[in-house]
Amino acid sequence: MSAALFIDVEVDDSIAGDRELAAKLEEVCPVDIFRAGAHGLEIVSENLDECVLCRLCLDASPPGTIRIVKLYDDGAVLGAPR
């Protein structure tokens, strides 16, 4: 029912298990896309389409480890190096 239509968030394997970072991302994202789960970072898929493209998660994580993908824009990536 609520598969994301507009936004996908890709997380690099290198940070997937980082609990501290996961907690930080949970705190920082205004629309609750990240959750600090038992095994580290989880993506709350029903909230993906709420992403406001604010880049706060990108600023909070090591460069290039999170990619916000605009599915409606041929997979354009938010925060990709120009």
Binding site: S2, F6, D49, E50, V52, K70, Y72
Partner: protein, 416 residues
């Protein structure tokens, strides 16, 4: 929010204004009891918020408790102006010598409350003001300083009233002015304010309206009167569709999808904000369109809220297409609303390009929004297309109201 007469009576009495013996009854048996307690001829008054109850037979006179019960039974079952009464007021019948009027309203120009007084009570004050202006006097009063008795006295005496009538009317009118402010009223009137043979005064009927915005701080009064938090007492009872709209709005705290109002056309409207909605609704009608609803989105709603509202409108029987239109937005985001309405179409199994007659929301994040709309083939417009032009385009696209069965709705569903 309007109070019933029996509630207004309670408010007036609480303020220390004399009222006749009375009681509120929801059953004929209770009406009989009250009439017996009053032990005199009574009048049975239907408790509805709509006017014209006298004409409709909602006011009956009874000489005995049994008669009171009989009348109450009839009045309790009588619908007036589309409303069933909440109960009946069993009121004593006073031998009135003279009827006065006292009322308080806000004056939006002077930005002060204004106290109105007339020695021609019992009829509509606006009518008196029009036909006998010399019988109505008024005075504005401060909201910062307590209302003083002399202010009431001065006003009443300006109609030439003196003697015992003046001294007895003064505290009543002053109390009315004070209760108006104390209880955040938008209207507080006693009409008629009756003078009895012995020279005493009674508030025979009262109308009170409390401001909705003040309900949170008038909780104590409302609880005392037994008014439920959910009771809105709109001029028209909300429909199931409208209640569903309130649910959509309540699902999260981000933004507003409010004031959903049902109409019976074929063009669903997802429109905003306050002024934009008013303009757009007029625009749709002026070019021959038939709106299925009114609504106001704004305040930067979530995708889920925009989606919920669009789904509600899309699934309303008789709706062929929706028009998504707002005046230029600065806080609400174009891309977020675009996502919401497209998501609604897709999740319902519709093609957004078919179902969205037009999307005209320019402003914040429009580049991003227009990308989304283009991707789904939705007809969209920027600020160079006026609100009226957008409405015209939507109406042209939807055409006249179509037959409800086997319409495009059906086809779209089957495609998936």
């Amino acid at each position: 929010m309007r109070f019933f007469e029996y509630e207004s009576r309670a408010i007036v009495a609480k303020a220390g204004i004399p009222v006749g013996k009375h009681g509120f009854a929801r059953t004929p048996a209770r009406a009989r009891e009250i009439a017996a307690e009053i032990a005199a001829p009574v009048v049975i008054k239907s408790q509805v918020l709509s006017g014209g109850r006298m004409k409709a037979g909602g006011v009956q006179f009874a000489d005995t408790p049994d008669e009171a019960a009989t009348h109450a039974e009839r009045v309790l079952a009588l619908e007036i102006g589309g409303h069933m009464p909440r109960g009946v007021l069993v009121d004593s019948r006073a031998a009135v010598q003279h009827e006065y009027y006292a009322g308080v309203v806000w004056d939006g120009i002077r930005k002060l409350p204004v106290l109105l007084f007339s020695d021609m009570g019992g009829i509509d004050i606006e009518e008196v003001a029009e036909r006998h202006p010399e019988h109505v006097v008024s005075a504005h009063f401060s909201t910062l300083r307590p209302f003083a008795d002399w202010q009431a006295k001065q006003l009443i005496s300006s109609l030439g009233i003196t003697g015992q009538a003046l001294t007895r009317l003064t505290p009543i009118v002053a109390r009315l002015a004070r209760l108006f402010l104390q209880y955040d009223m938008t209207l507080a009137e006693i009409n008629p304010l009756g003078e009895l043979a012995d020279g005493s005064f009674l508030a025979l009927d009262a109308h009170m309206d409390v401001e909705n915005e003040a309900r949170p701080r008038q909780r104590a009064l409302l609880a005392e009167l037994g008014v439920g938090e959910q009771e809105t007492r709109q001029a028209r009872e909300p429909t199931a569709f409208e209640l569903a709209g309130e649910e959509v709005d309540a699902q999260d705290h981000r933004g507003v999808a409010g004031n959903v109002t049902e109409f019976d056309g074929n063009l669903g409207l997802v429109i905003g904000a306050g002024g934009g909605s008013l303009t757009l609704f007029d625009a749709v009608r002026s070019c021959g369109g038939q709106p299925a609803n009114y609504c106001e989105i704004g305040g930067n709603p979530s995708v889920a809220k925009a989606c919920g509202l669009a789904k509600l409108v899309l699934t309303k029987p008789g709706v062929d297409k929706i028009a998504v239109m707002m005046s230029i937005v600065s806080n609400t985001r174009v891309d977020i609303v675009a996502r919401g309405v497209i998501k609604a179409c897709v999740e319902l199994g519709y093609d957004p390009a078919e179902k969205i007659a037009i999307f005209r929301i320019p402003g914040a994040w429009e580049e991003e929004g227009f990308k989304i709309l283009a991707r789904y083939g939705v007809d969209y417009a920027d600020r160079s297309v006026s609100l009226h032009e957008a409405a015209r385009r939507a109406v042209e696209r939807i055409g006249p109201q179509s037959a409800p069965v086997d319409g495009p709705q059906h086809d779209a569903r089957e495609r998936v």
